[in-house]
Amino acid sequence: MGNPMTEQTQTSEVKSSAQGETGKNPGIIRVEGMHKWYGDFHVLKDLNLTVKQGERIVICGPSGSGKSTFIRCINRLEEHQQGKIIVDNVELTDDIRHIDTVRREVGMVFQHFNLFPHLTVLENCCLSPIWVRKVPRKEAEASAMEYLERVKIPDQAHKFPGQLSGGQQQRVAIARALCMKPKIMLFDEPTSALDPEMIKEVLDVMIELAGSGMTMLCVTHEMGFAKTVADRVIFMDGGEIVEEAPPHDFFSNPQEARTQQFLKQILAH
């Protein structure tokens, strides 16, 4: 299991300097009054969200509503300008030490996979454990193989990403993120660049992952997935969280007009 001791000490060091209130665990992700602008364009407006350990959240909403921007703020691929984001008790500020700490604990899967084309599948998976977690290569490779088995492509380990199908590439991307043994996984439309027959193989992996108790934040339009695994569904529109409910209530009894309209469009497909 990696090198948990050094990891723990490093994190707690930053943590204590980041803020005083540890102790009780009010949620692994806390977003409080967060705003973001692109230039003058107000993309995210006063977002508030608390995610508990092990919770699975699905975010949906029309195109351009700021879903990607929101989850990219959580591992600081985008900067927010106002409000607070606290991930695993570390507040995201300009301090690079905080950013590095958070990114180590947060895995991310992109719409377009973003595998490193110059490295083999196995090397993709081992890169970060070796250089960031400082795991011995043998161990890193062994654990990477475990994850590749979990996503059902151990036999592709020595190929290059360009030689795999889209569904296989996305599963490698999931395995790569898992190799860092993250506490939280972010998914940004992981299936929307895939052909229908590949969507299922990726969703199966995600459902299996959800069953294992991982904290997950997924931006997706796969409503079936939301119904089966989500603890909560969040609907965003125009940079705001419009509605937030357990999947059953969300789909059967949406409160807001905008949500109803969105669901009508989605389900009309």
């Binding site: 705003h35 003058d40 300008q81 705001e240």
Partner: protein
């Protein structure tokens, strides 16, 4: 919950903020800014003084130059030589007409939605050289003959580059087709031709043209020096042109060839009507870029004794009547080339961008 009227917190962009962000964001950026800024400030001031404030623009001869700044007088006094070489004064109107026609043909290319600019371009590639062929050397239609040894300056530079590119275009097309031919011998010959010319420096080609060409030709037959240089430049340039065009041919999808075959077009019709029109359009930026290189490379002809614009300047900066005007001369030539090359490269970049989008949508 309506449209928010909130503004981003650090909204106002003050100059101080801008500088903090773009010049002094980290300690090494600050250090760089200070060092580079110091270098820029200390060099720009004296440079401006030399080129403008202390410079001499007016007068009749060297004695009117103070020596404190640039002696631009030298350029204006010798401008005629730099532009026309030894072309007789009273016949220079012929060259002027060509300059004018050149501008008429190509300035519209820089102006988008200039009506019928394509036709101006086509004129530039066909009518213009024909008119030039009769007008500049003379010797027909009652025009007085002007020996090519008298041509020089900017005019010669333009002639070399223009004919070089125009003549190498068809040869380049043939070579590119040859290199992609299915006949092994034709392909082999094209590859050898292209690779040999591309491997050797232009200066060896020019030497070869000026020393060896006379040996190759049957006795009694000979070309003028300018003609020999042009032959060398054209052969050399056509190898580069072939590679550019080959790139375009490769970019045409197989389906286009197959569709042409399916329509029953023969090889030449397939190439001429379907493939080449698309490929050539694709490689216009590439052709423009090779033109820029060729344009700069024409200066090499001064080594074999032709007076291009650099040659004319080089031969006058050592004139004892003027002292230390080398820098002024070089700056003038540099400026001439820079204007042409920078302008044309901007043009080709725009074109590339447009072709790029044109392909996606």
């Amino acid at each position: 919950m309506t449209e928010s009227t909130m503004k981003p917190p650090k909204k106002a962009l003050t100059p101080v903020k801008w500088m903090r962000e773009h010049l002094f964001s980290t300690w090494y950026n600050s250090l760089l800014t200070v060092v580079v800024g110091y270098l820029v400030v200390t060099s720009v001031g004296p440079l401006l003084n030399w080129a403008l404030f202390d410079a001499n623009f007016q007068g009749a001869d060297a004695s009117d130059c103070s020596g404190a700044g640039a002696c631009w007088l030298f350029i204006s006094q010798r401008l005629n030589f730099f532009i026309y070489g030894f072309y007789p004064d009273e016949l220079q109107w012929r060259v002027d007409i060509m300059f004018l026609l050149l501008a008429v043909a190509f300035v519209p290319q820089f102006i988008e939605r200039f009506p019928g600019r394509k036709w101006f371009g086509i004129f530039g590639m066909t009518g213009l050289p024909v008119i030039g062929y009769f007008l500049i050397p003379g010797g027909n239609f009652g025009l007085e003959t002007v020996e090519s040894t008298k041509w020089g300056g900017l005019m010669l530079t333009l002639i070399l580059a223009y004919i070089g590119i125009l003549a190498s275009l068809p040869i380049g097309v043939l070579l590119a087709l040859g290199r992609r031919s299915e006949m092994p011998i034709i392909r082999g010959l094209s590859v050898v031709f292209i690779e040999v010319w591309r491997a050797v420096p232009l200066i060896t080609v020019l030497f070869m043209a000026s020393v060896m060409l006379p040996l190759f030709l049957p006795e009694g037959m000979n070309f003028e020096k300018l003609m020999r240089a042009l032959i060398g430049i054209t052969l050399w340039q056509s190898a580069y042109m072939a590679e550019v065009i080959r790139g375009g041919l490769q970019a045409i999808p197989r389906g286009q060839y197959e569709a042409a075959d399916a329509l029953g077009l023969g090889y030449w019709k397939k190439m001429g009507l379907v493939v080449l029109p698309q490929a050539l359009k694709l490689v216009i930026p590439g052709i423009v870029n090779t033109f820029i290189s060729l344009f700069k490379d024409t200066t090499l002809v001064l080594i074999i004794g032709l007076f291009d614009v650099l040659g004319t300047v080089q031969s006058t900066v050592t004139d004892p009547a003027w002292q230390n005007v080398a820098v002024e001369g070089y700056v003038f030539v540099a400026f001439c080339f820079w204007i042409f090359c920078f302008g044309i490269s901007r043009y080709s970049q725009n074109l590339e961008r447009k072709l790029d989008t044109g392909h996606k949508t």
